[in-house]
């Protein structure tokens, strides 16, 4: 519809909505500016110790240094790649588990309690074992990321699958649909929103896995830099890596959100 065809009141309404959106964006930016400004000021004036709390200007300098040394990209790439791998494997594996459990009620009843226990277990506790089993390289880190995302994916998807409207399944049965048809024509498409919500959770989960994995082993990656930075007391480095991490995780979440927007059907 063309904006000029709308009634004056409708135009007014849309304008108001737009104005509100702009105001909110401005406030978001203002909040960040005030926060950074206050942080910088506090360290400059000496209210807090810049050596311990770092400061925006210190972070910026560290960032530029890392970039010029050419190390930043290496570390960012290492962590991102591990995270993406963990994310993908965890999601696919979790989904397969959910499908198998949905398919057979007996299998579901047998394994559900184990899944619940695994879900409550802090996976980090398995870290030392994973290092021994999967080695001290990337494989241990990816295993960690997979482990953290796979259980929650399986549980979430299973709940979604099982909540598919019973009457819609009945409708499929009136056409004599078999289990595979019920799954692929009804249960799976009905759970695309569940899948997207799970993907969003998994972005966070796989980053947790990667970073904790890197804390334990690894010679590169942001988690490694953070641990290294804290050990040699270069807290600027720790802060810088944390902020880069924020941006990476945000970007990945943004991509999932974009994907979600493109498949909305209602």
């Amino acid at each position: 519809m063309n904006f000029n065809d709308l009634s004056p009141l409708h135009k007014e309404f849309l304008k108001k909505q737009k104005r509100r959106k702009v105001v909110i964006h401005l406030l978001q930016i203002a909040f960040l500016a005030v926060f950074l400004g206050a942080w910088e000021l506090a360290t400059q004036v000496g209210w807090v110790d810049g050596f311990i709390f770092s400061s925006p200007s210190r972070v910026w300098n560290t960032f530029v240094n890392l970039f010029e040394e050419g190390n930043l990209f290496k570390h960012v790439w290492a962590s991102t790649w591990e995270t993406i791998l963990g994310f993908a494997i965890g999601t696919i594996l979790g989904m397969l588990i959910a499908i198998i459990l949905w398919w057979s009620d007996t299998v579901k009843r047998v394994f559900e309690p184990y899944l619940v226990v695994l879900n409550s277990l802090p996976k980090i506790a398995l870290g030392p074992l994973i290092i021994i089993w999967a080695g001290t390289g990337k494989s241990a880190i990816v295993t960690m990321a997979v482990l953290i995302s796979v259980v929650i994916t399986a549980l979430n998807m299973l709940v979604g699958f099982c909540q598919t409207e019973q009457n819609k399944i009945l409708l499929m049965q009136t056409f004599q649909a078999n289990k595979a048809q019920i799954f692929f024509k009804l249960v799976f498409p009905a759970n695309i929103p569940t899948l997207l919500a799970t993907l969003k959770i998994n972005v966070g989960m796989s980053w947790v896995g990667t970073i904790t994995g890197e804390y334990l082993v690894s010679k590169e990656g942001l988690g490694y830099l953070i641990v290294y930075g804290s050990q040699v007391f270069r807290l600027d480095l720790v802060m810088t890596c944390t902020i880069v991490l924020c941006m990476l995780a945000g970007a990945m979440y943004g991509m999932v959100a974009l994907l979600e927007k493109s498949v909305k059907f209602d």
């Binding site: 009457n167 009136t174 056409f175 024509k185 059907f265």
Partner: protein
């Protein structure tokens, strides 16, 4: 001589739970002729839906036989209370669902489904998603989805109960005329007496659970072609009263 298309003989269905054994249907016997529009009416919870599920072979009877005079694989079309259109499928894709599942989707059947859509005023909405059309239209789509598999027997389980009263009357008229034009044998289950009288040739009144046929009423509205017109007929009120009394047990001679 009309032939029986559906015959239930001594059909009993018992459901078991941990604590109870429920006889939903007890020794039910009736038959439906080809081309007939039968309404089954009974107090709520009397096992009406169970009867339809039995006919549709969604569940097996505990005892008794159900015979269906048809050689088709998909002989029965079942329309549920709600339209249950899939929101991610367009109107056209929703209509083709049954054909896809029964692996009967080919150029001919697709054309037949599309013709039905055109014929009943949905041609312009084929590419729409279900949430973009009205409740009445959705119900029509659901009916066409059922008809697309070209069943010999149509089962309707309170197909209008999810609609508001105004829409309900309209959709009832719609659905009735579509069924008549496509000449389908139909069994409708409802608890709404006036709805039953306004559409059916024959009305089976069921007893409280376990369901048995208490009485059969024949409705004769030759001069009143649509459900809405029937509601205006003088005998409508009489039928209503008779059936109401029968349903409420003042007429227990059977």
């Amino acid at each position: 001589m009309k032939k029986n298309i559906l015959k239930l003989q001594g059909v009993t269905k018992v459901f078991y739970t941990k604590t109870a054994e429920t006889v939903a249907v007890n020794n039910l016997t009736f038959s439906v002729d080809e081309g007939e529009f039968v309404a089954i009416i009974g107090p709520s919870g009397c096992g009406k839906t169970t009867v339809l599920s039995l006919i549709a072979r969604l569940i097996e009877p505990t005892t008794g036989t159900i015979t269906l005079a048809s050689n088709k694989k998909q002989a029965v079309g079942y329309m549920l209370q709600q339209d249950h259109l899939f929101p991610w499928r367009t109107v056209e894709k929703n209509v083709l669902l049954g054909l896809e599942i029964t692996k009967n989707l080919n150029a001919d059947t697709k054309e037949y489904a599309n013709k039905l859509l055109e014929k009943y005023g949905l041609g312009d909405f084929k590419k729409h998603l279900p949430n973009q059309i009205s409740g009445g239209m959705r119900q029509r789509v659901a009916l066409i989805r059922t008809l697309a598999t070209n069943p010999d027997l149509l089962l309707l389980d309170e197909p209008f109960s999810a609609l508001d009263f105004q829409t309900r009357l309209e959709v009832c008229d719609d659905v009735y005329s579509i069924i008549r034009r496509e000449n389908k044998t139909t069994v409708l289950v409802t608890h709404d007496i006036s709805e039953a009288i306004s559409v059916a040739d024959k009305i089976f009144v069921l007893t409280k659970r376990p369901a048995k046929v208490k009485k059969i009423f024949c409705c004769d509205f030759e001069k009143y072609p649509t459900p809405l017109k029937r509601r205006e007929a003088p005998q409508f009120g009489e039928h209503f009263e008779e059936i109401y009394k029968c349903l409420n047990g003042e007429d227990d001679e059977l």
